[in-house]
Symmetry: C2
């Protein structure tokens, strides 16, 4: 998102974020995916870790831990400040999409950032030891349990958040950012709307290695080939253009482009090359 | 409380705290009175300010302010850690008394600290501009509105928290700490239980000046004499012994004792003198 925003100008972009791994911890609502996009675009991200706010302190979490509160999910102090504000807005009845737009505005983020849905859709990870919340599997248990299945809790009842389908319909270019195809598009209506568009996706794997996280292992344990071609197969006929790293083998017609995650000062360049390749 | 705990040993003390100025801010439950007692006894208090945790950071609140969240009530990061834990316990259905005992235990506080009630009893301050929540009047508007009346919202429905009446009944000595008599004893049952005991109170005024806060002004605006004698009159026949600062004029039978708030290392001494005078 940041690469495209730097290349095309932030006002030209609507970013639609996954909420499947949202969670409530210490009584606050956390949207890890939306927050990472928000912090990136607001230039607050801890770029080294790839999540959270840079130069963070952890004093609230430290106290919570001392008192026996949940501390398995790392929340920095500034991060908690954001969660407190969003959670109080949600409790007042604001939909997540509205709360997200407000946060983005307050942080002077000019990309239009929307959650895929305002309903509580949650990705559940099935393992031999039973079904786990996504973050419970990913963070608390350090994704060491083999994944035997995935379930999208609440997906049937979920509807695309206001503006999501309209943004897809109006888009000159649809790009699925490097992401886990298993946790991406479960909201009814979004897939159908995408099907009518020319959709491009950027491979989340370079060779057999994910940019981040245990995607390759998850693919293997679910019986898919952990490769860019395997990813493209998972998206199936939704996909019109697939972007892989130089030298990687994609499906027929794959476009090669530098897609490594890079430092902020080189993102505009990566975005421009991507736009050149796709437009 | 700390003086008596240091003099008599913490295990000998049950402290019963006011909840009338509790509030919900940024979605967390804050109990300013209980927290100040807790932080004092846990030796975490910012002694200079008289509230909050010492060596605090304010990064969460800073972010909340940037995002347009409520920031009028100063909450430090470690303080927020405590509020998050307590609030999540309360949301799980734990009564405030149980949550308070748990926090005290986690902080190795051996005084038994209880809220007067588990029900939501709130002190409302009446002014010419209408009725305000206590902290709205005290903090947000810097107690500049003249007080024309006080109302205890929820007092009729409130019951003493488990252990409170029993602790009063079993006490060898009952001491009302220096406090605002207008916001002190509104829970049905507590006053009646106190009436059967020999009750001592420590004056919250030294001369015409309160240890802290706008008590003298509040007394004057409500038509009471802002003096130790005026305080004693407000407690009325509830009171058997009244403790005033050396040289101050109390009611008949007042005991003089050094009652100034002092640094931690001198509190045991003040407590011992108080116990000598009262037992």
């Amino acid at each position: 998102v940041d690469s495209l925003a730097r290349a095309a100008g932030p006002e030209a972009i609507t970013a639609i974020g996954n909420v499947g791994d949202d969670l409530e911890v210490l009584g606050v609502h956390v949207s890890p995916d939306l927050d990472t996009v928000l912090y990136t675009l607001a230039e607050l991200l801890d770029e080294e870790r790839g999540w959270g706010v840079r130069d963070e302190t952890y004093n609230a979490l430290g106290m919570a831990r001392e008192l026996g509160g949940a501390s398995w999910f790392t929340l920095g102090d500034r991060d908690i400040g954001l969660h407190l504000v969003r959670t109080s807005w949600l409790r007042e009845g604001l939909p997540l999409s509205e709360a997200t737009l407000r946060l983005a505005e307050a942080l002077d983020v000019r990309v239009r950032l929307l959650p895929a849905t305002d309903q509580p859709l949650r990705t559940k990870i099935q393992t031999k030891d039973g079904e786990l919340d996504f973050q419970e599997w990913f963070v608390a248990r350090a994704h060491r349990d083999e994944v035997t299945g995935i379930r999208y809790d609440g997906a049937e009842a979920a509807r695309a958040a206001p503006g999501v389908l309209e943004a897809i319909e109006a888009a000159e270019l649809v790009v699925i950012a490097p992401s886990n195809p298993f946790v991406s598009i479960a909201v009814p209506g979004i897939r159908e709307t995408l099907a009518a568009k020319r959709v491009s996706a950027v491979s989340p794997l370079v060779g057999e290695k994910a940019f981040r996280g245990p995607l390759a292992e998850m693919m293997a344990s679910l019986g898919h080939e952990p490769s860019p071609a395997g990813i493209a197969a998972l998206y199936g006929d939704l996909l019109d253009v697939f972007v892989v790293a130089p030298g990687d083998q994609g499906p027929v017609g794959a476009v090669e482009c530098e897609i490594d995650m890079v430092a902020p000062d080189r993102r505009a360049e990566v975005g421009r090359k991507l736009l050149e390749a796709l437009l």
